[in-house]
């Protein structure tokens, strides 16, 4: 009986973790899955970076605008100087002021109707701003929930192919099976690589959006109360 160890060193050398090698030796379907997931990951990170920049800027400017607004003596003049800028709080104020000017332009002012229109105009502006800001969040949610499944699909496909290779080789040694399974598992790895940041960012950003929305709503309510008082004083 002769015990002859296989060439262990040669087998071990083939097992590298290089993503490029794993990608190049994969099946066409698995390649497609990997490419798609890689693009999804890039898109996710682009959204995360862009979104965090714009969300931070929007909330900071809204807070600053709000503080400045309550310090202002004259609303009309503040609106003329600061009200034409592109951020949520300014737009909410602009909507209120525009509606106020339209409603009080007539000789007879319907106070209840004016109040309704002011509230509707400002809340719809808030909703529009939040919608515009959270436009990309659904992409994060989609990537976060679907990418693991896509990766899993790639893995299942790759392992099926590896088993076909075993059947063709008529040899079930680990050296035949291992590379196929490694490249298949790489698809799941990329899927998780894309999905984990997407889920984290989605939760974080939806929380940020909610905070911005409630801040805008509070500002709109205060402004509405001010306008409503103003409407009462106007006889």
């Amino acid at each position: 009986m002769t015990l002859n160890l296989p060439d262990v060193a040669a087998v071990a050398d083939a097992a590298t973790i290089s993503p490029l090698a794993l990608f190049l030796q994969a099946d066409i379907v698995v390649k497609g899955v990997m490419l798609g997931l890689l693009l999804a990951s890039i898109w996710t990170w682009a959204i995360i970076i862009g979104f965090s920049v714009s969300l931070r800027r929007a909330s900071k400017e809204s807070r600053k605008f709000e503080a400045d607004f309550w310090k202002a003596e004259d609303i009309d003049r503040f609106y003329e100087t600061r009200g034409k800028v592109e951020h949520p709080a300014a737009k909410v104020m602009a909507a209120g002021v525009t509606e106020w000017r339209r409603s009080t332009a007539q000789k007879v002012v319907d106070r209840d109707g004016t109040r309704d229109r002011l509230a509707t105009a400002m809340s719809s502006t808030i909703a529009a701003e939040i919608d515009r800001l959270s436009d990309r969040l659904n992409i994060l949610a989609t990537v976060g929930s679907v990418a693991p499944f896509v990766g899993l699909f790639g893995t299942v496909w790759g392992i099926m192919r590896a088993f076909t290779a075993i059947a063709a080789e008529q040899n079930s040694s680990l050296a035949v099976v291992a590379p196929g399974i490694a490249e298949a598992l790489f698809a799941t790895a990329i899927g998780l690589f894309a999905a984990i940041p997407a889920v984290i960012a989605y939760n974080r950003f939806s929380h940020g959006i909610n905070r911005l929305e409630s801040a805008l709503t509070r500002f709109a309510d205060s402004f509405y109360a001010t306008l409503s008082r103003e409407l009462e004083a106007q006889r």
Partner: protein
């Protein structure tokens, strides 16, 4: 907003390219623990032991006579009442004297000299101590070392007797008194068993060979050669042996009968003698297993490095075993 997204896209792309580039370049690669410092070595195990003795044949010639040390004077040699029996053997100086001393012995029947007499009787029938017979009969010819010590005196007796057959008849005379005196001393354990003149026969044999002839080479293969030949066969068959895979396929064993000529080439087609380990689940593979075994023999056909001096051992390989072990 649009600008922020563009910046984000650029940063994300650059980050991914950087990360995958680093991973591809072997960043985070762990040193491979499986790399062996020394190459694997081939281990050969002997699992078959030949039934035939393969030790080098030992010549039947007796070992060279050694001169025994004198044991000193025997005190009671003179008062022994056996001078009378001693002369009795002397009158027969014929070559058949060993037959005579044998009957002479029974009268006192001492325990000690008995094995010595047997040796003489056995050595006697072999008329040629110098010429080793091809037949292996090591047991009778080879005195066991344990016995050798106790029998030193007995051998001193035996040797001259053995030589006596080819030599002159003068020695039996010298022997006879020695033996007679030995018997005489048997009932008196104090003294030496040897007579004073026991060295006489040795001196005359000075021309006898001092050591037995060189041992002949073994005719049969030993376990070591057998296993080496087996390993060599397996080594040459292995690259060509592709057993089928499947459920229980490694339980299949195919036994082939293969005839080889002197150059190591296969004569005719190997025949399947038997197949072992066939179960319900590997039955479909059994035929393929046998075909692959025959194919492996044919592909490996001129077997190289076969020892020509053992051609008898490998001209007819039966059974040549093909199993999962061969593949390992």
């Amino acid at each position: 907003m649009e600008r922020a997204e563009k910046i984000g896209l650029g940063v994300a792309t650059a980050g991914h390219v950087l990360l995958f580039g680093l991973l591809s370049a072997g960043f985070l690669a762990t040193p491979n623990p499986l790399k062996l410092k020394t190459p694997p070595m081939e281990v050969s195990m002997v699992d078959e032991v030949a039934l035939q003795s393969t030790a080098p044949q030992i010549s039947t010639a007796p070992p060279p006579p050694s001169i025994a040390p004198e044991q000193g004077p025997t005190e009671d040699a003179a008062p022994a009442p056996e001078p009378e029996p001693a002369p009795e053997p002397t009158p027969q100086p014929t070559p058949k004297e060993v037959a005579k001393p044998a009957p002479a012995k029974p009268q006192p029947a001492p325990k000690k000299p008995a094995p010595a007499k047997k040796e003489v009787a056995k050595a006697k029938p072999k008329p040629a101590p110098e010429k080793p017979t091809p037949k292996a009969k090591p047991a009778p010819a080879k005195p066991s070392p344990a016995k050798a010590k106790t029998d030193t005196k007995a051998k001193a007796d035996a040797k001259p007797a053995a030589k006596a057959s080819t030599k002159s008849t003068a020695k039996p005379k010298a022997d006879a008194p020695a033996r007679a005196s030995g018997q005489g001393k048997a009932d008196k354990p104090k003294g030496s068993l040897l007579g004073k003149d026991f060295l006489k026969g040795i001196d005359t044999n000075a021309d006898a060979p001092r050591r037995p002839p060189a041992p002949a080479p073994a005719a049969a293969m030993g376990p070591a050669q057998k296993s080496a030949l087996d390993a060599e066969l397996r080594r040459q068959l292995k690259p060509h042996w592709r057993p089928p895979s499947g459920a229980d396929a490694d339980k299949l064993v195919t036994l082939l009968e293969v005839r080889l000529d002197k150059s190591g080439a296969v004569i005719g087609t190997p025949q399947v003698i038997d197949q072992l380990g066939v179960t319900a689940s590997n039955r479909p593979q059994a035929k393929l297993h046998a075909e692959r075994a025959i194919q492996a023999v044919k592909l490996a056909s001129p077997f190289r490095n076969m020892p020509p001096e053992f051609y008898d051992q490998w001209k007819w390989l039966r059974p040549l075993r093909f199993d999962a072990r061969l593949n390992r």
